[in-house]
């Protein structure tokens, strides 16, 4: 999810997130609007029960404060005993925001204290546990390490392939042919990459407005969704293979066997990498398709090049053995 300002993620950004069904947070602001520009710095939650009872040691004020049924009942009890100075103590910390689940709303005194402390109060209709798991998932995604790479991300036979290479080497043309052959475009030219869970690289287009457009020399900018249909696009995809396209260099040694596996590092994750030389007459899309299928075979435990070599070794060995038994004179 791209944030409007990559350096700062505010409560307003959290409200503005456009999430679909199973990730929807259903948040709305019910008070303390002045504080909506407060920054969320930690992707974590806190249930402020101990703080409300007056124990502020190790109070995790940087986190989103979640008020569920228990906390709300306690707040109600405090309000009835007009013990409201506790509220002001709570809002003396620069809490990013307070979130009430189950559509609960606090008392007027709590609102007033929040206004004084410039702390936004949000409300959601979800249950505390459901909201917690959703918001954690969303925040971890937003706070994941990210980078931008110049390349094209396509999904070929279910494998996310990042095509890289210098301008003009034919990345977009290769992707276009792949789309024509029934594969999917994720992002052209600018690929935003996030490292999720420290091991998975998710790639997506940098911008929804201009996403799924491509620039093809001689044609200009084309809309892939309109031209090839919604089946030809995908919003995001895990990057599982990197194919570096480069001009054929006669002096460079290219991999001819494929038993040695190269990897490249993106955000600390090692991804298999192929170097594919481009020259007129080489059908790059077919090579990419084959690379994708080969990658799937490898994941299933069948490595073409290694298996081939093992067969060759076994055959040579058996030939030796035959020579030993049948043509003893020739062998010696």
């Amino acid at each position: 999810m791209p944030t409007p300002d990559a350096t700062r993620f505010t409560v307003l950004d959290l409200l503005d997130l456009n999430l679909n069904e199973q990730n929807a947070l259903n948040l709305r602001c019910i008070g303390g609007r002045k504080g909506l520009s407060r920054e969320i710095t930690v992707p974590d939650l806190n249930r402020p029960g101990l703080a409300l009872s007056g124990f502020y040691e190790s109070f995790a004020w940087q986190r989103l404060q979640i008020f569920g049924r228990g906390e709300n009942a306690y707040l109600k009890m405090l309000a009835e005993s007009s013990n409201v100075e506790i509220y002001d103590k709570l809002f003396s910390y620069p809490i990013p925001c307070c979130i009430f689940t189950h559509n609960l709303a606090p008392s007027k005194e709590f609102f007033d204290a929040a206004e004084r402390g410039d702390c936004p109060i949000l409300q959601t209709d979800l249950s505390s546990s459901e909201f917690s798991s959703r918001v954690l998932r969303v925040l971890l995604d937003i706070f994941a390490p990210q980078t931008t790479i110049h390349g094209v991300l396509v999904e070929v036979y279910g494998i996310g392939i990042l095509l890289t290479g210098d301008s003009g080497v034919g990345k977009s043309e290769t992707a276009l042919e792949l789309i024509e052959r029934g594969h999917r475009l994720v992002a052209d030219d600018v690929v935003d990459i996030r490292c999720v869970n420290g091991s998975v690289l998710m790639g997506q287009g940098a911008n929804k407005v201009i996403g799924h457009h491509m620039e093809i020399r001689g044609l200009g900018i084309i809309n892939i969704t309109h031209l090839f249909g919604v089946g030809a696009i995908r919003d995001k995809k895990q990057i599982q293979l990197v194919c570096g396209l480069e001009e054929w260099d006669a002096n460079k040694v290219y991999d001819r066997i494929g038993t040695e596996e190269m990897t490249t590092e993106i955000l600390g994750v090692h991804i298999p990498k192929l170097e594919i030389p481009v020259k007129p007459g080489r059908n790059i899309p077919i090579i990419i398709e084959t690379a994708a299928m080969n990658e799937r075979l490898k994941k299933m435990g069948y490595h073409s090049a290694k298996e081939f070599n093992q067969n060759v070794l076994r055959w040579l060995e058996s030939e030796n053995a035959r020579a030993l038994y049948f043509n003893r004179d020739d062998f010696l």
């Binding site: 300002d5 990559a6 931008t148 301008s167 003009g168 030219d189 600018v190 940098a206 491509m214």
Partner: protein
């Protein structure tokens, strides 16, 4: 590496036509050229990349070039930004 900071001075910002002009200018040079806005750094030889920056009127952009003809590349792009992409 040579760098320059420019401000978008045409009202419409960088839409398709200015982006094409930038790419045309950048492609005349062999150096690697990047444009940077906030934390986004993109290849100046890519039209979609430049449009993705979303550079509107008044935005400040850093031009960075690296290679044999880097000084010329940075100067040529700076001149293009200063000319308001022949708009307005």
């Amino acid at each position: 590496m040579t760098e320059a900071i420019v401000t978008i001075s045409n009202r419409a910002g960088i839409h398709a036509r200015p982006a094409a002009l930038i790419v045309q200018t950048a492609s005349k040079f062999a150096s690697k050229i990047w444009l940077e806005k906030d934390s986004d750094k993109i290849n100046a030889k890519s039209i979609m990349g430049i449009i993705t920056l979303g550079a509107s009127f008044g935005t400040r952009i850093r031009i960075m070039s690296e290679g044999a003809d880097e000084a010329g590349a940075t100067a040529a792009l700076q001149a293009l930004f200063d000319s308001k992409f022949e708009e307005d």
